[in-house]
C-alpha cells in the first residue's frame, strides 16, 4: 500500500474508484469491483474536489470559501482524509 504524507503531498481520487451521482440512491457513490459506497454530503464535497490532484491546505481553503463559518471544518476534513487514505479512496498524485 502506498503511504504518503497528507500534509505535504498532493493526492487525488484513486482512479480505480468510480465517483458519481446515483439518481436511484439520491446520493453520490464510490463504485469499485462488485461494490458500492454511499457517500454523505460532506464526503461528497471533499471527494469531488479530489478528482484533480489537490492538497489538504487547498481543500480546506476551498471548503472554507464554499461554507463560510462552518465550525471545526479543518479538523473534519483532516479526519476524513486520513480515513480516505486508509481506505485507499485517495492516492498520491504523481508529481
Amino acid at each position: 500500500m502506498s503511504e504518503f504524507n497528507l500534509d505535504t503531498s498532493s493526492f487525488k481520487l484513486n482512479p480505480r474508484y468510480q465517483f458519481q451521482w446515483e439518481e436511484a440512491q439520491q446520493c453520490h457513490v464510490l463504485l469499485y469491483p462488485e461494490g458500492l459506497i454511499k457517500l454523505s454530503d460532506s464526503a461528497t464535497e471533499i471527494l469531488q474536489r479530489c478528482q484533480q490532484p489537490t492538497t489538504t491546505a487547498t481543500l480546506i481553503d476551498e471548503l472554507n470559501n464554499a461554507f463560510p463559518g462552518a465550525e471545526g471544518l479543518a479538523n473534519d476534513v483532516m479526519e476524513f482524509l486520513a480515513d480516505a487514505q486508509q481506505q485507499v479512496w485517495i492516492v498520491q498524485a504523481s508529481n
Binding site: Q18, E23, Y32
Partner: protein, 381 residues
Amino acid sequence: MKRTTSHIPMWLLAELTFACPVQCSYCSNPLELSASRKNELSTEEWIRVMRQARKLGAVQLGFSGGEPLVRTDLEELVVEAKSLGYYINLITSSIGLTAEKITTLKEAGLGHIQISFQGSNRESNKLLGGTDSFDHKVAMTKEVIKQELALGLNFVLHRQNLHQVEEFLTMAQSVGAEFVELANCQYYGWGLHNREHLLPSQEQLIDAERVTNEFREKYKGDMEIFFVAPDYYDDRPKKCSNGWGTTFMTVNPEGEVLPCQAAKVIPGLEFPNVRAHDLNDIWHNSDLFNRFRGTDWMTEPCKSCPEKEIDLGGCRCQALMLTGDATNADPVCSLSPHHDEVLRITKKAQRPYQEEDTQKLVFRNPGNSKKITAKKPELTE
C-alpha cells in the same frame, strides 16, 4: 406504473453467451446446452437491456457467460455500459484475452477483470478445466496487473482441488494479485450432476481454511483472500442472491430474466423475456420476481421462525433439489424437517480425497450434454 417493491436491482449480470471453451464440471449452467448461438441477444438488444436496468438503478454490471470474450461485440457493449454509468466487471476464463484486448477494454471503460482458475498448476488446470490454459491465465493475470486494471483471481474449489489451495495462493502472491476469491463450488446444473465427486470432506475444508488463514496473516495488507465455504456444512442457510428479487437480475444469453443464475431448475416458473417485456415491468410486476420476494410465500418452519428475515428461508433451488418443493425451508437449516438429507449427503463425503476420482467428473461440453439430457437424470441421489 405499479411499483411493488422498493428494492433496487443494484446488480445486472449479463450472461452474454452459453458458449465456453472451458468444460468445468461444476458449471451452474443448465445441463441442456444450447447447441447454436443464433438465438443469443443482439448487440442492440443488450444495449436496450442495459439502459432499462440502469434506469431501475442497476449500477454494477457483470459480463459473464459462458465465456463473454466469445462475443465479438464485447468492446462495443463495454463502451455503451460505461456511458450509461455502470461499474463494469468482466468475469472470464481469460481464454481469448490478449494484452491488446486488455488495453482496448480498459480504454472502453472496463473497471475490473475476474479471472478464474480451475487448478493450481498446468496439469491440474488442464485436467479440471479441459483446456491447456494455465500458462496463459498466469500471463494474463500479470498483464492485467501491469496495465493497472482492478483484478480478482477466482479459484473454484471442490473435492478434487482443495488440497491445492497452498500452491494456488503461492502463485497468486508471486504475481502480485491483491484480491483472491477461494469459492467452493455450488451444486446447481453441472455442479449438481457431479456433486458426489465435488463435495469435499470436512477435513479437506478445515485444512484449506487453515492454509488460507496462514496466508492472510502473512500477506496482510497486500493480498485480501475471501473463502466461501460450501453451505452444506452450515446449520443455517444463505439468503438466495441477497434475497430473491432484492438485488440481482440475471439476463441469460437468450433474454430470459432470472432472480438468480440457477432459478431455471424450479418447475412451474415462467421466465419473462426481455424481447417481450420491459425490465421495469419484469422487476416490479412479474409473477417470477414476486414469487419468493419477502416472506409471505413461506411455509413452516420458516413462517413462524424468528430468524426468517435473516436468511429469508435460504436458497429456493436447493429447497427444490433436496426436498422436491421450492417453498420448503432450505434443508441446510438444522430446523428443516429435511435436514437429514443434507446430513446424509455430507456424511457420504467424509471419505478421503482420491486422485483417481477426478476421472469420474462429467465435463460440461455439448457431447456430455446430449448424453445426459437424453437419459433424463435423477436430480437427487
